[in-house]
Amino acid sequence: MTKITDYDGPVLEIDKLSISFFTRLREIPAVMDFSVAVQPGEAVGLVGESGCGKSTVALGVMQDLGVNGRIVGGSIKFKGRDMSEMTQEELRDIRGNEIAMIYQEPMASLNPAMKIGKQLMEVPMIHEGVSKEEAHARALEVVTDVKLPDPKRMLDSYPHQLSGGQQQRIVIALALMTKPSLLILDEPTTALDVTVEAAVVELVKDLGKKYGTSMLFISHNLGLVLETCDRLCVMYSGEAVERGSIEDVFDDMRHPYTQALFRSIPLPGADKNARPLVAIPGNFPLPHERPDGCNFGPRCNYYMEGRCDQGYIPMDEVEGNERHVSRCLRMTEIDWDAPPEVAAKAEKPAVGEVVLKMDHLKKYYEVAANALFGGGEKRVVKANETLSFEARESETLAIVGESGCGKSTFAKVLMGLETATDGKIMMGDEEIQDVAIQDRSTETISSVQMVFQNPFDTLNPSMTVGRQIIRALEVFGVGESDADRRQRMLKLLDLVKLPRAFADRMPRQLSGGQKQRVGIARAFAGDARIVVADEPVSALDVSVQAAVTDLLMEIQRENKTTLLFISHDLSIVRYLSDRVMVMYLGHVVELGTTDQVFAPPYHPYTEALLSAVPIADTSVEKEHIVLEGDIPSAMNPPPGCPFQTRCRWKDKVAGGLCEQKVPPVRTLEDKHQIKCHLSEEVLASMTPVIKIAAE
C-alpha cells in the first residue's frame, strides 16, 4: 500500500464545504461555506468556541460523520484528489496512513487492554504489511522521538500505567507511526496541565518540522494557536469568519468577532487598567436559530440594520495582506485601531482588615496499603504542607497550581469538609481548623462559600433554579417567611444579571455561563464574607469567561468580599487578583502581590508556569522553559525540595542541598515569600519571562 506521491499542491484543500446533521425534526447545518487550504509542512489553526463546528470539519476530512451527518456541498481534496470520490477501501488506506488524528482525551484513543508496544506495532503492520521485527524497531524509534523516558519499558506497559501527559505522547507516537502527510489535532492538550501542555506543544512543533507533516490544529485557545501555527482560521457558528497568516489575523484583524474574541481574553503582558476585558454581549446562537445575514450580527458592535441582517455575506480579500480574507461587509468602513469603549471603571475599595488567617496549616491523609483489611503499612499523603497566609477584606487572593498541588484539599479544609491535621485557620477571631462543617454555626458556614468549577455539575438537575437558591437562604436562616425568601431570591437573580423568569427554570434549560451565575448567586445567598472560587470560568467559553469574571469582581466590590480565586490560568489571575499564591505538591512555593509574582525574582516553578502559559499576543516574547517529566505523585514525593526533580536552577545550589532539605520560607522585600534554596544573587540575576517587544 503506497502513499500518494508526486504532488506539489496543497496537502488538504477544503472548498466551500457544508456539512449538515439530520435529525427527526430538521436539518441542522453544522458547517457552512467553509474553505481552507493546508500547504505541505504548514500548520493551520482552527479556532472557535464550542459548537462552532471546528470538530465537525475534522470529522468531515476523515469522512467519518456518523449516520446523521452528511456533506451537503463543496469538496474536500486530499493531495488533489476529491475524497468523496474515493471508495471505502481507498479511504481506509488514507485514514491513519496519510491522515492521522489526535483527540482530546488520550485514554479514549488507547485500547486499555493492549500493551502500548502492540498498539504501536499494529499500525505499520496493517498499513504497510511490514514484519513484526521491523514494526517493533519502528515503534521503539517513534517512542524515542516523542521523548518518553525508558522507551523499552514504555512499549511493555499498559496505557493506565502512564500519566496523562505520557499517554498523549503515545497517542502522538501512534499518529506518527506511518509518517502521515497530514495530522489533525483536535484540542490535543485541553485535558493536560499547563506545564505538561507546554511540553507536548513543543514536541508537536518539533516533530512537525522533523517529519515535514502538515497540521490542522483545532483549539479554542488563541495563545496555543499562536505558538504552534503558521496560519489561522477563525470560526463562528459554523462559518469561517476570518482566515490569514498568524501575524495578519493577530495584529491586523478584520472581523468584529475576532476583535471581540481578543478583547475578551486577558493578556498577562498588558495592563489591566489600560486594557480591560470586554465581554461579548449575548449568547452563541443555536444552529437552527441562526439569524439572517451575518451570524455574528446580533452580538456585534458594528451592526448595521438593513445591511448586516440580509442575504449571504461572502469572504472578501483584505487589501494589502496576502491570503487574508474576512467575512464582513463593513470591513473597509470600520476603524480597526480604535480603542474599545469602556464604561467608567469603578474604583476598587481599599483592602481592609484581615478576615482569614492560615497558620502552618497541614493536612495529611493516611492511606492504608491494604484497603480490604485495613492492616499493613500505612502511607501518608501530605496534601498540604505548612500553609501560612492572610487574606483581607475585599482582597482577591489567587491560588495557582496544577492538578495535585493541594488547592482542592485546602479548599476542603477551609470549608470544613475535612479537618486540619495541624496548624490554625483563624476566621475573624474564631479558630475553625478543627471544626467540621456539621459543628459550625450557621453564621460561620454562610460566611465561607464556594463557587464550583464545572457549570454542568454545580446545580442539582432535578430542582428549579429558584428552589435551589431559596434552599440556601433557608439553610442560612435568611428571611422571615417563604414570600420574603422568594423576594430575596429574585433580588439575587438580579444581582447576577439573570432575568427573574429563570427562577422557575430547570438547570438543563440554562447555558453554561448562566448556570455559573446561578452558582454565584447561591454562594452569595448568605452574604458570604469569603468566597472560594474553584476555577469558576475555566470550563466556560472564552466569550462568556470575561462576563462571568467581571460579574464576580463587581459583586466583590459591592459586598467587600474576600475572594480566594483558585486557578491554573495565569492570564486571568494577573487580571483580577491582588495577591498570588503559587502551590506545588502541597507546598506554597511563592506568595506575594501580583506584581511581585509576575516579575523576577521568581521561584523556579513560577518561572516555568509563566513560560508555559500560551499568550495570544504577537508582541509578547517569552522565554521558553520546558519542564522535564510530570508532576510527582503526592503519595511518593521526592525528598528535599518538592520541585527539585524538574527544576532547571538546581545546579546553582551547592552541595545538592535541594535533594536533602525542604527549603525554608524566605521573605524578600515587601513580604514577598519564596520557598527556595537559591541564593540572593542567583534570584537577582533572573530575567523576566514575558517581555513586551518595543513597538
Binding site: 456533506i71 468523496s84 470520490e85 471505502q88 442539582n460 438537575p461 452558582g519
Partner: protein, 480 residues
C-alpha cells in the same frame, strides 16, 4: 342451552384471520430469503451516501408489515364485534362483553394521556414509544381488571369458589349445569377439576397479584433506598457490613427460605411477624427523615408535617404488624382495625426480604456515583445534613434507573408470587391466585390443558407488559 363455540356468529371472520395469518408467515419467510438477494440499481453520491429503491427485500418487508397490521385489525374486529354481540359472538364475544368496563377505562386513559402527553413529564413521554404504549396497555388491562373485579365485583361470571355439579373438567363454553335464571349460563373457559369456573378464577386471581406485587415492590424499594443511600454515601465500614449482609441474603436459596418461613413451627415462633416489624418500619423511617431533613430549618412546618405523617404512618404500621392471634400484640384489639391474613403476610414479608438486597445494591451504586458531583459538594458546603443530601440531592437524580427497575421488579415479584402459589406456600390452597391455579391445573395437563392455560397466559401477559413498559420508559428517559 347450547355449548358456546369459540367464535359463534363471528365465525365469518375466521377465514380472513387464517388467511391473513398464513400470508403474514409466508411473507415473513420471504423477507428473510429476500435478504440474501443482492440489491442492484442503487446510486452512490459523492458524499458516499447510497440511495436506491427499496428492492426486493424492502418490498417484502413492507408487505410483511402490512399483513401483520391486517392480522391485528381482524383481531381487533373480533373484540369490538364480540363486545357488541355478547354471547352470540361465541366465547370470544362473551369474554369481550364481560371486559366492557376494562375497555372503557382503557380507552379513557389512553385518550386523556395522548391528549395531554406534552404536559405529563416522563409519563407523557411514554406515549411516544410504541413498545411503551403496548406495555402500558397490557399492564393497565390487568390493573383495571383487578379494580373492577376486586372493588366492584364486576367482570367475573361466577364466585371463584362456587362449584357446580357436573362441571368438573368441562371444556370452555360448556353451559352451566343447573344454572338458575339469574346465573351466567356458561363456564366461559370451562371448569377445573373441582368444577369451578376457570374464567372467574383467572379474573379474581388478578386481584391478589395486582395488590401484592406493586405494594411489596414499594416496600422493597423503601428498604433498599433507606439502607443503600447511607451505604453509598458514607462508604467505609457501614458499606462493608451492609453489602456483606445483602450478599448473604442474595446467596440464600430463595425457595428454601420460603419453605422455612411457612413451616408451622417457624410461623408459630412468630419469625415472619418479627420480620414484618423490622421491614415495615423502613417506610416510616424513610418518610420521617424525608420530611425532617427538608423542613428542619422551619420548625413549625416541620413539626406539623412530622406529626401528620408519623401519626398516620405509625398507626398504620402498628395495625399492620400487630395481630391479636400472633406473638406481636402492640395495639389493644379495640384500636387494631384490620389484620393481614397470616398467609399473605408471609408472602409479603418474604417477597420484600428477597427483593430489597438487589434494590440496595442498585441504590448504593447510584449514590456512590452521584455523591462525587459538585452539587453534592455545594450542599455539603452550605451545611446540609447528610440525610438531606441523600434524599433530596442524590435520590431525585437517581430516579431514572430506579423507575425502570421498579417496573421490571414488579414483573419479577409477579413471577415470584406465581412461584409461591405454585408451591402452595403461604396462600390458602383454594386461593384463586394464578400460581395456585396453575399448580391445580398442572396435574391433568395432558388431558385437560384449559384450567392451567388461562392463568398461565394471564401471568405471561402481565409480566410481558411490565417488561415492555420498563423498556419504553428506559428508551424515553434516555432521550431526555
Amino acid at each position: 342451552m347450547e355449548p358456546l363455540t369459540w367464535t359463534g356468529n363471528l365465525s365469518f371472520l375466521n377465514l380472513p384471520l387464517q388467511t391473513a395469518a398464513i400470508l403474514f408467515f409466508i411473507l415473513a419467510l420471504l423477507q428473510i430469503l429476500a435478504g440474501f438477494v443482492p440489491q442492484r440499481g442503487s446510486t452512490i453520491y459523492h458524499d458516499s451516501t447510497v440511495a436506491g429503491g427499496p428492492g426486493l427485500h424492502g418490498w417484502s418487508a413492507r408487505l410483511t408489515l402490512w399483513s401483520f397490521y391486517l392480522v391485528l385489525l381482524i383481531c381487533a374486529a373480533f373484540l369490538v364485534l364480540g363486545m357488541l354481540m355478547g354471547t352470540s359472538g361465541g366465547i370470544i364475544g362473551a369474554v369481550s362483553r364481560q371486559f366492557v368496563p376494562v375497555w372503557v377505562a382503557l380507552a379513557i386513559t389512553f385518550f386523556l394521556s395522548l391528549r395531554y402527553r406534552r404536559r405529563l413529564g416522563l409519563y407523557g413521554k411514554l406515549f411516544d414509544s410504541t413498545i411503551g404504549m403496548v406495555g402500558f396497555g397490557l399492564v393497565m388491562f390487568w390493573v383495571f381488571t383487578a379494580i373492577f373485579a376486586g372493588v366492584f365485583d364486576m367482570i367475573y361470571t361466577h364466585a371463584p369458589l362456587e362449584q357446580a355439579s357436573g362441571m368438573k373438567n368441562k371444556l370452555p363454553g360448556t353451559p352451566m349445569n343447573g344454572a338458575e335464571a339469574e346465573d351466567f349460563q356458561w363456564y366461559l373457559f370451562g371448569g377445573d377439576n373441582l368444577a369451578r369456573d376457570v374464567f372467574s378464577r383467572m379474573v379474581v386471581g388478578s386481584v391478589t397479584v395486582i395488590l401484592i406485587a406493586p405494594l411489596a415492590t414499594i416496600f422493597a424499594f423503601m428498604v433498599g433506598i433507606t439502607l443503600g443511600l447511607p451505604a453509598g454515601y458514607y462508604g467505609g465500614r457501614l458499606d462493608t457490613v451492609l453489602s456483606f449482609s445483602a450478599n448473604l441474603i442474595l446467596a440464600f436459596p430463595v425457595i428454601l427460605l420460603f419453605y422455612l418461613l411457612v413451616t408451622p413451627e417457624i410461623r408459630e415462633s412468630g419469625l415472619p411477624n418479627y420480620m414484618a416489624v423490622v421491614l415495615f418500619v423502613f417506610p416510616l423511617i424513610f418518610l420521617g427523615v424525608l420530611i425532617n431533613s427538608r423542613f428542619h430549618t422551619q420548625p413549625q412546618k416541620n413539626t406539623l408535617f412530622l406529626v401528620l405523617a408519623l401519626g398516620i404512618g405509625g398507626w398504620l404500621y402498628l395495625t399492620l404488624v400487630s395481630d391479636q392471634s400472633s406473638v406481636i400484640r402492640l395495639l389493644p384489639s379495640s384500636l387494631d382495625f384490620f389484620n393481614i391474613p397470616g398467609g399473605i403476610l408471609v408472602v409479603f414479608v418474604s417477597v420484600v426480604f428477597v427483593n430489597s438486597p438487589t434494590v440496595f445494591r442498585i441504590v448504593r451504586g447510584l449514590a456512590m456515583d452521584i455523591k462525587t458531583r459538585d452539587y453534592v459538594a455545594a450542599a455539603q458546603t452550605r451545611g446540609e445534613g447528610p440525610w438531606y443530601i441523600m434524599l433530596w440531592e442524590i435520590l431525585p437524580n437517581a430516579r431514572g434507573p430506579l423507575i425502570v427497575d421498579f417496573c421490571l421488579r414488579i414483573g419479577y415479584t409477579t413471577i415470584l408470587l406465581g412461584t409461591l402459589g405454585f408451591f402452595g406456600l403461604g396462600l390458602p390452597p383454594e386461593s384463586p391466585d394464578w400460581g395456585t391455579t396453575i399448580n391445580d391445573g398442572r396435574k391433568l395437563l395432558s388431558i385437560f390443558p384449559h384450567p392451567a392455560l388461562a392463568p398461565a397466559l394471564a401471568l405471561l401477559s402481565l409480566v410481558l407488559g411490565l417488561n415492555l413498559l420498563a423498556d419504553g420508559l428506559r428508551e424515553e428517559s434516555l432521550k431526555d
